[in-house]
């Protein structure tokens, strides 16, 4: 920001008189840049429907932000790019085949109800994109759990003409019960056959939300955010490590599959690290990440839904103020 300085006037302000030149806009732009690889992979695998979902979500979020600020008679905050980011994140958390009007309703919910009602950027208690996703999952359960089959891009295309299928998570949920005597679950090796190969999991050749399938693209984006110092390692590392260790102990599907399928990578790197809704201290971030991983796996094993990642983050969002209170930093020189 540039102050106005008429001739023979001097700017008076409290120190410091220097700034690192960072800005909210630049941070949002960095996160958008970091999301590009996974967005492109989503569009690659799910085609035009994915592209439309992204465009519709981003534009409805920006328009809703504008409308809310006008209605509240506050300054226009579209320029900080936070609405663009919320729209992009919401789209990446939706299945590609979602009817576009539902995407619009979700976007309006994300910005108007989950964000602006609380006062806008920085004031929202819940991650707006995830709040909208939860709202849509309850309101439009069918379309929100109908998954497009990834477009076969390899030469050895399989000939089935099925266009929708279950996500690997549904298979993996049944695998938790493998050892139970009463379970009517499929035979373990058979279930393994139904899971995508490790390579498919890494590049994202499996059903799922637009932005969650390609673990590799998400990892690249996360590395960019760490390099730009937009986020710290604490939440992604503790979240992913908790999911990994939990599934090692709980048995069932291989631990790597629990990490690479569903929303864990997207959630740990991009959703749980949302500034406003995660703890501010390093210690708090570790507690938060472990909590997210734990709740996510508890839902995956015992809950009614095959996936628990977004609910886990929302639940931990609610606990965040408490974690902040527990993990206040100890001042230099304090007893």
């Amino acid at each position: 920001m540039k102050p106005k300085t008429p001739e023979n006037h001097f700017v008076l302000s409290s120190s410091p008189h220097a700034h690192a030149n960072s800005s909210v806009r630049r941070i949002m732009l960095d996160v958008i840049i970091a999301l590009l690889p996974t967005t492109l992979m989503g569009i690659w695998f799910f085609g035009l429907p994915a592209l439309w979902t992204v465009l519709v979500c981003v534009s409805s979020c920006v328009l809703t932000e504008l409308a809310c600020r006008l209605a509240m008679k506050r300054e226009n905050t579209v320029g900080d790019l936070s609405a663009v980011l919320t729209g992009l994140l919401l789209a990446l958390n939706l299945p590609a085949g979602i009817p576009l009007w539902m995407a619009i309703v979700g976007s309006i919910f994300a910005i108007a109800i989950a964000k602006q009602v609380f006062g806008g950027l920085g004031m929202n208690p819940f991650n707006p994109a995830l709040a909208a996703r939860a709202f849509m999952l309850i309101s439009f359960t069918g379309p929100m759990t109908t998954w497009l089959r990834p477009i076969s891009r390899c030469c050895c295309c399989d000939a089935t003409d099925v266009t929708t299928m279950a996500t690997p998570l549904a298979t993996m949920k049944r695998m938790f019960g493998v050892d139970a005597t009463t379970s009517a679950t499929p035979h373990f090796p058979k279930a393994m056959e139904n899971l995508p190969s490790l390579w498919d999991m890494l590049i994202g050749n499996m059903p799922g939300c637009i932005g969650e399938v390609s673990a590799l693209a998400l990892a690249i984006g996360c590395a960019y955010l760490l390099w730009r110092k937009v986020i710290t390692w604490h939440i992604p590392a503790s979240f992913i490590a908790t999911v990994f260790v939990y599934s090692l102990i709980a048995g069932g599907a291989p631990a790597y599959a629990q990490v690479l399928t569903g929303g864990v990578m997207l959630g740990a790197c991009f959703m749980a690290t949302d500034y406003a809704t995660s703890p501010i201290t390093a210690k708090g971030k570790l507690v938060f990440g472990v909590g997210c991983g734990l709740v996510c796996m508890l839902i995956r094993q015992f809950g009614g839904y095959p996936e628990g990642c977004s609910f886990a983050i929302l639940i931990m969002n609610a606990v965040c103020p408490l974690i902040n209170r527990w993990t206040q930093p100890k001042p230099f020189g304090a007893k």
């Binding site: 102050p3 700017v11 302000s13 410091p16 930093p329």
Partner: protein, 465 residues
């Protein structure tokens, strides 16, 4: 004597643009005596001196014109011969006004005047003589805060100085005054250290210099090559606020000063700015009180940035004129450095014993903090060298909730500005901290006054009985 790398690194800190190249190669130049000096009675931390001259009085260079007014106070001497034009309230560099002597100077009659105070041989002088000399020379910390040096050098009973830490970090952007003093007056610093060791007892010495001043490290190595005892030059990594007293103690000897009201002496340390140490040497050996200092005049709106030796009370306009004037209209004038300096409203303000820098910045270097909402990014927590939660404090003060700020240890804040520096929402976090501290101090003072009044009333009642 040896040179070591800093063994301890404090948490937090930031890397502002240093911009030291503007003035670092400019040797110290003496300013020709200005026609008028504005000598403030409040050049130090603590009670302002009591002015003892009036309009029309003729004063000599070095004559006492302001008497020490309390324990934490420093006397003021005339920094030139001249006639007192007026004694009036003037705005100081820090934005508050204080009594000042307006002196119309006359050139000295004698080019080799007699010493103002009788020179002392520090080797034979007693500790009390040396301490008294520091006091009567009007020396206060020249790094910025201006704490009375004689008080610092005289620890209360039961406290002993184990480490004397020489602060040559000069971590403020733009400033190169201490750097030039270390280069050009290394021998004076050496003598100053010997004197201080005589006053404080034979303590260990740590000379702290940031890595980006290799010439200063070399100069100190040469000057201190044959010194006795435990003396180390500590190379500090370049990190703001490396020059903060508490962080310097941690970086050099690994001790942590407890929260206020604790002082460095509570952990056996005395920290002194290199310029102050040189001033002590001059006061003792040459009988020259602290009447002048080196000030860096820099910034992109100054024609030729310089390091200027000028008498205290020199008006900023005289310093700027000596630098060839303004290159362009400055948008901001800063007394001190860009991180902790004070923005001032005119060039009519005069220097004090603590004026280390004067910066004139063009509009390209000036930006404005605002009051956007905090996005909770945590950059201020990571930057805070005191490990506070500036985000929480700033939000509390914004909502006038001083109690929460106090519980979040706002009184421990050293106002270094690292939090505001990195804030992507351009929040005035440091200013919020200052506001909370001022409010808490005012409340404490009111409580003390109320307690004293209650006690007085009680006593009066007893008396009546």
């Amino acid at each position: 004597m040896k040179t070591v790398k800093s063994p301890f690194k404090f948490k937090g800190g930031v890397h502002p643009d240093y911009n030291k190249e503007l003035a670092r190669d400019m040797p110290i130049e003496r300013l020709p005596l200005p026609g008028e000096l504005v000598i403030s009675m409040s050049q130090h931390l603590g009670a302002p001196a009591k002015c003892i001259v009036k309009a029309g009085d003729e004063v000599k260079r070095g004559q006492v014109i302001g008497e020490k007014n309390g324990f934490i106070s420093v006397l003021v001497r005339a920094s030139a011969d001249g006639k007192v034009k007026a004694v009036e309230k003037r705005l100081g560099p820090a934005g508050s006004s204080a009594d000042a002597v307006i002196l119309e100077t006359v050139p000295p009659e004698d080019n080799n005047p007699a010493p103002i105070l009788p020179p002392l041989d520090w080797k034979t002088a007693t500790r009390e003589e040396l301490l008294k000399r520091v006091e009567e020379a009007g020396i206060c910390g020249m790094g910025g805060a201006g704490f009375p040096t004689s008080v610092k050098l005289n620890p209360p009973p039961g406290k002993r100085c184990e480490y004397l830490v020489l602060n040559g970090a000069e971590c403020e952007p733009y400033l190169t005054a201490d750097f030039r003093v270390m280069l050009e007056r290394a021998d004076r610093i050496r003598v100053g250290v010997e004197i201080m060791r005589k006053i404080l007892g034979m303590c260990a010495v740590r000379i702290a210099i940031e890595d980006n001043k290799p010439e200063a490290i070399t100069a100190m190595e040469k000057a201190f090559a044959d010194i006795e005892g435990n003396v180390e030059i500590v190379r500090l990594p370049v990190l703001y606020p490396q020059g903060s007293e508490k962080h310097q103690i941690y970086a050099t000897v690994g001790r942590i000063v407890p929260e206020p009201p604790a002082l460095p002496i509570d952990v056996g340390c005395v920290v002194e700015n290199v310029g102050t140490v040189a001033a002590i040497a001059d006061a003792v050996e040459k009988g020259e009180p602290l009447l002048e200092r080196v000030t860096t005049v820099s910034g992109d709106a100054v024609a030729t940035p310089k390091n200027i030796l000028a008498p205290s009370g020199t008006k900023y306009s005289d310093l700027v004129a000596f630098c060839g004037g303004e290159k362009e209209h400055p948008a901001k004038i800063i007394s001190g450095g860009t991180m902790m300096g004070f923005a001032v409203s005119s060039l009519d303000i005069a220097t004090t014993k603590t004026t280390s820098g004067l910066l004139l910045l063009s509009s390209r270097k000036v930006f404005q903090y605002g009051s956007q909402a905090c996005i909770n990014c945590g950059r201020c927590l990571r930057a805070c060298p005191m490990n506070l939660n500036p985000a929480e404090i700033s939000k509390a003060v914004e909502a006038d909730d001083i109690k929460t700020a106090e519980n979040a240890h706002v009184m421990t804040c050293i106002e270094c500005g690292a939090c505001s520096f990195g804030c992507p929402a351009y929040r005035t976090i440091t200013q919020f901290c200052r506001r909370a501290k001022a409010s808490i101090r005012a409340r404490m003072a009111a409580e003390r006054a109320a307690a004293a009044a209650a006690k007085a009333a009680e006593d009066a009642k007893k008396e009546a009985k």
